[in-house]
């Protein structure tokens, strides 16, 4: 087995554990939408794709990554911590009083965050501005934008899709986290977006599809120069919402919900959270005062 792939896979597992621990401590959050994009972020930041220097977050030549599906911020923060943008200890403050790490990322407060997102349908246009600026300033940085699949129901995405090809933005890569679920149901039960690849192709994009949890495939794809020059690139990453925890996978209910006692035990075992690496972040359910009772169990489905 390739040792670099091993390293990235190990990192993905660590990041998934961090995500859960952060959200658990905060008492609630978007676990499943964050689990969906872990491998994508891992490969972008640690697989030699993004060009960045965490010591100089405003370095002009850096590639820019925009998490358009800002509700998956809990996946971005541990990545930014491991990349060196923020202190690892900060993760313990997620969504708590006094923290800079909120439920959606704030570019004014967090180094390494390029755009404040949260409302869907904004990130692609922001990335277009960045890619355009690179062209106007004759710089060769690249803009990467990660969209949710449900987000493609926003009209502004399609305004942006038309414009990016008109401007021949070949320094723009858009990744769609295609887990086929949105907050309340499957996409195809609400507003279906199929045939997704054909739609983007018809809009003039260079479309490629990949397994969004296959580290090796993602790394090969991102590090390859796009085949067609003068076209923006669209990567449809087929993913599983809640990836890594059996009872969460592909269940719309888990868009925004916390596990109960029984579920927590399964989750701890499946994510491989060991008591010693827990740093008392997570109260294990077999302890008498687990802290779990204070965790609100959301009915799910009210937030994007």
């Amino acid at each position: 087995m390739n040792s670099d792939i091993d390293r990235l896979e190990c990192l993905s597992r660590e990041i998934r554990r961090s995500i859960f621990q952060m959200i658990y401590q905060a008492g609630g959050g978007h676990i499943a939408p964050a689990f969906s994009i872990v491998e994508i972020l891992t490969v972008l930041y640690f697989g030699g794709v993004l060009k960045y220097d965490a010591r100089q977050p405003k370095w002009e030549e850096r590639d820019r990554f925009i998490l358009s599906k800002g509700h998956a911020a809990a996946a971005l923060y541990p990545v930014l911590a491991r990349a060196g943008y923020i202190n690892e200890e900060l993760l313990n403050t997620f969504c708590q009083k006094g923290s800079i790490l909120g439920g959606h990322p704030d570019m004014r407060k967090i180094p390494g965050v390029e755009a404040s997102t949260g409302s869907l349908g904004h990130g692609l246009s922001f990335g277009i501005g960045i890619a355009l600026a690179a062209k106007l300033n004759a710089k060769d940085y690249h803009a990467y934008v990660l969209l949710g699949d449900g987000e493609c129901q926003e009209g502004s995405i399609w305004e942006a899709a038309l414009f990016a090809t008109q401007q021949k933005l070949n320094n723009l890569t858009v990744i769609i986290d295609y887990n086929k679920l949105q907050a309340m149901e499957r996409l195809d039960q609400i507003i279906g977006i199929e045939p997704l690849g054909e739609k983007w192709q018809a809009f003039g994009w260079n479309v490629v599809e990949v397994d969004g949890h296959d580290i090796k495939a993602l790394q090969t794809l991102f590090n390859k120069k796009p085949a067609q020059a003068g076209q923006p690139r669209l990567v449809i990453a087929h993913t599983i919402k809640g990836k890594g925890v059996s009872f969460m996978e592909s269940q719309p209910l888990w868009h925004y919900r916390m596990p109960d006692d029984q579920e927590l035990q399964v989750l701890i075992s499946e994510l491989g959270i060991k008591e010693e690496e827990n740093n008392s972040r997570l109260s294990l359910p077999d302890k008498s005062d687990s802290g779990m009772k204070n965790v609100p169990v959301s009915e799910g489905g009210i937030q994007k």
Partner: protein
């Protein structure tokens, strides 16, 4: 105002290659020279305001200085959440330039009128709002917008305004301008309807009501001092704007008066009362139809002056 804006923008673009003129498929003739001379600093985003505004925030995040130009309601309302989240919340250096202030696009109807734009822009943090009254002022406001690092909304009329300033003056953001002195009553005005206020004031002078006219070219931050001085010295204030009565200049003036204890001043707001601008015709026709013409200003001013005098008499 549009040509004056373009003249200023041309000079800015010439001196700074980061200045980018962005349009939403409008300005065919007024931008011709600019497009010809700075093709790399001009961009037409087509008919997609949401994408345009957010992309400009992205451009600004990389050091560009976009001046985004389109019809006021499309810019401020179609793309409102983009203005809020991507420009104002992120404090990006984007200049939003809305044309068709008030109902200057008279016969195009209310879809093309800017009669709520001040209200929706005024509520946003981090933004500066300029609402010039004349071509010269539009030019100065454009240069002032460039000098500010952060979001600016510049509310322009069209190209038909005539100059109200007889000589050059200093445009200071956040400072109102006394266009005409007077101690019996004050008209506080914004935008090109300032000319009507001035003409009405001259009419009022002849009736013995010596009227002060204050032009508020910066809606935010607002010049509190000039408003309070007018309240103390004249005791009667009319606010006048081509805008809904709610949320615009009149509301802003009322906030200043009330918060500073000037509650004995006679105060009336003139503008659109719970309506979109009615009717078709030219700009003056619409002022008449919507009760903000010179005649209306004079009528309201006389009523107010009389009530000011009678309330003073009551006190004796």
């Amino acid at each position: 105002m549009r040509n004056a804006y373009l003249t200023a923008l041309y000079a800015l673009a010439e001196n700074n290659p980061h200045v980018v003129a962005v349009v939403g498929d409008n300005g065919a003739i007024v931008y011709d020279q600019f497009r010809m001379d700075f093709p790399g600093q001009f961009m037409n985003f087509g008919i997609s305001e949401a994408n345009m505004v957010t992309a400009c925030a992205g451009l600004a995040s990389c050091g560009k200085i976009p001046f985004v130009y389109t019809i006021a309601p499309f810019l401020t309302m179609r793309a409102y959440e983009q203005v809020r989240n991507d420009v104002c919340m992120q404090n990006q250096n984007v200049k939003l330039v809305g044309t068709g202030a008030g109902f200057v696009y008279s016969s195009l109807g209310p879809t093309h009128h800017g009669t709520e734009d001040l209200a929706v822009m005024r509520v946003l943090p981090n933004i500066t709002i300029f609402s010039p009254a004349s071509p010269m002022e539009a030019q100065k406001a454009t240069l002032a917008a460039y000098a500010i690092h952060g979001p600016v909304y510049l509310r322009l009329g069209t190209n038909r305004e005539t100059e109200i300033y007889k000589e050059d003056y200093i445009f200071e953001p956040g400072k109102g301008i006394t266009l005409k002195e007077g101690n019996d009553l004050t008209i506080i005005v914004t935008g090109s309807i300032a000319r009507d206020a001035l003409e009405a004031a001259e009419g009022l002078d002849k009736m013995g009501i010596i009227t002060r006219v204050i032009n508020i070219h910066t809606i935010k931050p607002l010049d509190q001092e000039i408003i309070l001085r007018a309240a103390i010295e004249t005791g009667a204030i009319i606010s006048l704007e081509e805008h809904n009565l709610i949320g615009g200049l009149g509301t802003a003036v009322a906030e200043v008066l009330m918060e500073n204890g000037a509650n004995s001043v006679c105060f009336r707001r003139m503008g659109l009362i719970e309506s979109f601008a009615q009717g078709y015709g030219n700009h003056q026709d619409l002022k008449e139809i919507n009760a903000v013409s010179r005649k209306d200003i004079i009528r309201i001013a006389r009523e107010m002056f009389e009530s000011k005098i009678s309330s003073r008499l009551r006190r004796f």
